[in-house]
Subunit: 718 residues, 2 copies
């Protein structure tokens, strides 16, 4: 296969008029990707180098050589598109361990790696299987996420990612093991860097998210929608060059903790770094130590006009140093751009990979097998908005509203939604396929190295133009309540019973009607994640929604702001499902007449009074002194006001010491139930109007539910 031609490979579109042409297109993209991967590995001139471990945070290259092929087999089996393995042992050993580990996590496991020839044979078998599948699989257009063709595309894009990450690892391999060959040629153009300068960018509304209708493959993290207003700001015209960064080194930047974040200081202390990862010092003819740079295939005296390659911690430290040098740093801040700001920059590049005749930058492996000068590729007055090296941002990665995992690759993105993975944008010289496209979103731990550098921006100090993080809730109790209150849209209830929140609100609304109670104000105690409050808000002028735990309330507040809530729920064993919803999924408005607040039922503030109805849902059994509340709740109600108690009377010593239990124990030697204790406390001021048994299911996981029969009692102020 002619490798030089593969550099121009473009991702197939999902739509098309001809099935047979689409097969051909898919097959070519597969073959080109496959060939390019093998072309990269063909740079290795000695099989023993496959087993070295130049990057201690990564597996040796033999893993990656087998990994992209075994990925196809593992995903095809998972999707039940094939039923047999090719080489179970290889598919196991080359399956996991791709992701970067923590920087101080030195993995000392022993692996029984296959030989390189075994992997070569294996790759051959897999390629034949995939090509055969492409020829014979059912195919309809457009290609959808549940189709086999999507998995083929996923495999190609997955392999393209590993072309890049493998090239980074090979850049750490001793040069003796690599032989430069024609299509992989290092840029020869080096020299002094141009002086960087700040250019203005007009702020605008940035809309995020690859449309579901987009005609190209995308990873799960690209889809969904969000928007953000970005103020005017300045951006550096060029990426930061080695020359510009050298000034930071010479200013002893690596020796001054002040410039470094806490994480950066820890990393510095651990690695004892004194310069960027691909720099090194070497004596020159005058026996002076001077800086050199290691590229993929050679070492050259530090190319001052090429972009510096650093991790996020180093890039941030540079910005801090730069601020300290600035005279204007009280109002203006130099920092890394956010994802939103990069999108403002990206407006200056026309089109995208699929429409370019020739890439307008050092990207897609169309230019050099290395960086090139920072002033070589211009876009509308700015340089290297795309290509050359990736650009670190201030933004950690998270899913947009509407994010949904792909079922066959549920851990591609979710593990990175942790506030520890920062987005890199723009792509590098070796980024191709999805990597090289506008909507793509890749993120790495901040200490990690890629072919990545940075540009800086300057803006007014203040809040960064970043989307608020919306991480998945993973507290088991909160997730179970979220699912119980909002989850039925996505998973069927196990029992044909009315939704629990609706049982409560229906009964409350019926009582209002039956007993002619005013509907001005309602207090909801134990509001939790808010469903009943959102329903009642449509019937009352004002709802005060109170819960002891801010961790529950914050979801109610979030929903009220129109935002989506994300949570996880156990499926089976360690496997979890991911959920996202917002109020519109339930045709509920984001009622402004609810005031969520944290409050202690046993010691409720005096301001909570004058209610027509007080609903206490499971608030008694979660309070440390339920009698304290019951003794004065009458003073919080308007004349003839209703008190509705929902409780399973499951008092628990963790929350409520035994002397404060309303019941469920012997009092003066005789058994007293919770309802008897409740009645005793309320009868001085209330008449019991009615009582009823409710049915509540809480999903624990795929096969297990808590089924309970809480008790609802309606009391009217005497």
């Amino acid at each position: 296969m002619d490798v030089s031609k593969t550099k121009q490979a473009k991702p197939p579109l999902l739509n098309g008029a001809s099935i047979s042409e689409k097969r051909t297109e898919l097959k070519n993209y597969f073959k080109q990707t496959w060939a390019e991967y093998e072309s990269l590995f063909s740079l290795i001139n000695d099989d023993s180098a496959y087993f070295l471990r130049p990057e201690h945070l990564r597996h040796p290259l033999i893993f990656y050589f087998g990994h992209t092929a075994s990925f196809y087999i593992n995903k095809l089996l998972l999707g039940k598109f094939i039923s047999e393995r090719i080489n179970g042992k290889l598919e196991a050993i080359c399956a996991v361990g791709v992701d970067e580990m923590s920087w101080d996590d030195l993995n000392s496991e022993h692996y029984d790696w296959p030989s390189v020839d075994e992997v070569r044979d294996y790759r051959q078998q897999v390629a034949e299987l995939i090509e055969n599948l492409i020829d014979n699989m059912p195919l309809s257009l457009p290609i959808t996420q549940d189709s086999l063709a999507w998995i083929i595309l996923m495999g190609c894009e997955h392999e393209r990612i590993h072309i890049e990450t493998s090239s980074v690892i090979m850049r750490m391999l001793p040069l003796q093991y690599l032989t430069a060959v024609a299509p992989w040629s290092t840029c020869q153009n080096t020299g002094k860097a141009p002086t960087n300068e700040l250019l203005p960018i007009k702020g605008r509304l940035v809309e995020f998210g690859k449309p579901a209708s987009d005609d190209t493959f995308g990873w799960d993290n690209e889809y969904g929608y969000d928007q953000l207003n970005v103020n005017d700001f300045y951006t550096s015209k060029y990426l930061v060059s080695n020359q510009e960064y050298l000034a930071f080194i010479e200013a002893k930047g690596y020796q001054q903790n002040d410039y470094w974040s806490e994480e950066g200081q820890q990393w510095l202390a651990f690695t004892k770094a004194t310069m960027p990862r691909f720099w090194f010092k070497k004596a020159n003819n005058n026996n002076e130590e001077v800086y050199w740079q290691r590229n993929l295939l050679n070492e050259i005296p530090l190319p001052l006009n090429w972009p510096v390659e650093v991790n996020h911690l180093e890039a941030s430290a540079f910005c801090h140093w730069k601020n300290s040098e600035s005279t204007n740093n009280e109002k203006q801040l130099i920092r890394l751009p956010t994802e939103a700001e990069w999108f403002c920059l990206r407006e200056n590049v026309a089109g995208d990979l699929t429409t370019w005749q020739k890439a307008p930058g050092n990207i897609n492996n169309e230019g050099y097998a290395s960086s090139c000068p920072v002033d070589q590729f211009e876009h509308n007055g700015f340089f290297d908005i795309i290509g050359n090296v990736w650009q670190w941002t201030e933004s950690t990665i998270d899913g947009f509203n509407g994010f949904d995992v792909h079922p066959l690759y549920d851990d591609f993105s979710i593990p990175t939604f942790d506030g520890k993975h920062n987005l890199i944008k723009g792509g590098s010289w070796v980024s191709s396929g999805n990597e090289a496209m506008k909507y793509s979103r890749y993120a790495f731990r901040r200490h990690f190295f890629q072919h990545a550098g940075f540009r800086y921006v300057q803006s007014q100090r203040g809040v960064l133009p970043n989307l608020a993080a919306n991480h998945y809730e993973n507290d088991t109790g909160i997730c179970q309540q979220l699912h119980a209150q909002y989850g039925e849209a996505k998973s069927a209830m196990p029992l044909a019973v009315k939704h629990y929140s609706q049982q409560i609100t229906d009964e409350l609304l019926a009582c209002i009607n039956e007993y002619q109670v005013a509907t001005n104000t309602c207090l909801v105690l134990g509001c939790g994640v808010g469903r009943t409050s959102f329903v009642l808000a449509q019937h009352f002028n004002q709802i005060d929604a109170v819960d002891f735990s801010a961790r529950y309330i914050r979801h109610g507040v979030h929903l009220q702001q129109g935002k989506s809530v994300r949570y996880t729920l156990a499926n089976e064993g360690d496997i979890v499902d991911f959920y996202e919803f917002n109020l519109t999924d339930f045709d509920l408005p984001c009622s402004e007449n609810i005031l969520f607040s944290q409050g202690d039922v046993s010691n409720l503030k005096g301001v909570f009074k004058g209610y027509d109805v007080i609903l206490a849902q499971h608030a008694l059994e979660q309070s440390y002194d339920p009698r304290a509340f019951l003794q004065e709740v009458n003073s919080r109600l308007n004349a003839k006001g209703l008190l509705i108690i929902v409780s399973s009377y499951d008092f628990d010593e963790q929350q409520t010491s035994k002397e404060n239990w309303l019941g469920g124990l012997k009092i003066n030697g005789e058994n007293v139930t919770g309802f008897e204790g409740l009645s005793l406390a309320l009868t001085p001021h209330f008449n019991l109007l009615k009582q009823q048994q409710l049915t509540r299911t809480i999903k624990i996981n795929r096969r297990n539910f808590m089924l309970s029969f809480p008790h609802l009692s309606v009391w009217q102020l005497k």
Copy 2:
């Protein structure tokens, strides 16, 4: 009221021809009991003595004075026969603390006791309320356990118990606080004791349990049925007298640990006792220390011919000493009688309290306010089979088969079913009402003192003629399984689903039919408490039922032996319900073709083979290596045999380390479900015939259930 007449009070019969006469009878019994209690307390000549604490294991007498009255109010309220308290504070403080505590549990709590006059007034109010109730309550005959009349009788019998226990406490009060009055007169007859001797008793089948049809009130522990064969034995003609016991003292019995049980040694070390509790030493005219005895109302030189009064530990030690003195002690053993042996003795007394014109013993307060000589009351050659002092037995108390608690007094008996409470039989001089009747069963901790002594028996060494203890199972997991498998007869299922065990056996039996499988042998793995095995035993020639836990299996074995199983289940909070059942409740035979045994599914013995059907119910997720079982289960089946797996695949690291989970985690980077893992392990040898979702409910307590949807799959050997 003429106190002297009250001594002949007899418990009313439950049956009768005339309602109005029964009212009168009830009222008289109530009034007589009440008066006798007050007569006893009238012996106290100084109100300050009510607040002393002569017995540190008991409350002061003021508690008991108020307790029997407040008992009525507390029970009547609990039964909703009345709705208002008379004196809430008094009814609280006089409610609990009756039962003896551990002998080293010195209670140091401070109580705010009412004054004696306050209690006198209170008693007056309660008496009026009860008499008024008796006059006006609905009454039908016979009196049943759920009727108000039963509660009146319960209150009377409760007060009669406290006549006795209070008299014991008063026996510890300094004499200065007591004034002997006419009806309470100490026996004057003292002297040398007759020489004791052993008389033969013919063994027989003893049947236990007061018939449900019996015409008198009984406590819960008296009802039910059991039987036991008692061999011939010898019994001492007389109770052990002070004189007989003195020989043990003089033999330094209290200084030789060998004679004492471990519990006895601990008690000796703690109390430093050197003689029985009511003995003391006093200098005589010659200034020699001689033994005296404290009675209720006086102190007298040790009456040698009266029965010694000791606790169970002392009585047992005496028997051990007596054995050591015997020349025949290798074959014959001197010991305390069992309850069964006492019943053999009791045959020598005609009639019962309700039929006696005059009590044939020093009992029912008809004789003395003290013990009397051991040779005064003869029955058919034996003395003091009833009356004089209680007789300790070797039998700990437990419920008979069919035991059921009375709902308004659920802690009368249950807390004593713990192996630490030994039965006392026969009654003392002050025992009256139920205490004095043949079927009554009272038990105390072995270190406790009552007006109690002992007789001894001699029998062949070997197993004691004791009923096997059948204590309530209280392990939460086992109780929940017992209830899930056998509980529906007594409490309705929350859902209209087929019984879980039946879902499994129906499916198994349908498969046998559909696939024409032989029904010779079946292996049930994870048999638990056995329900499916009992059902399948009716369809197979042989069932091997295996579980990892002997604690579960023992209930299956117990049921197979035709016995009842008892367990508790949480109701609400700390309140528990008590359950008892046996196989006949489910029309299941006690199949002899089931062999229950303990076994490790992951390492099952080779002998478990040659089955037509193997059913594994929740056995995989409870084994530490389910694959080990699945890999060789094929070798345990006959040709075309069926393997039926029921599992919820809830693997848990507590039981199964993660590398052994069949699924519910990522394997080589991809999610694998438990059923997928199961299929992978079984497909080499089995064909999957069908699969199905089951529905299982497990009651946690009154309002909470675990609802799960386990998976059943049917596999046939290829």
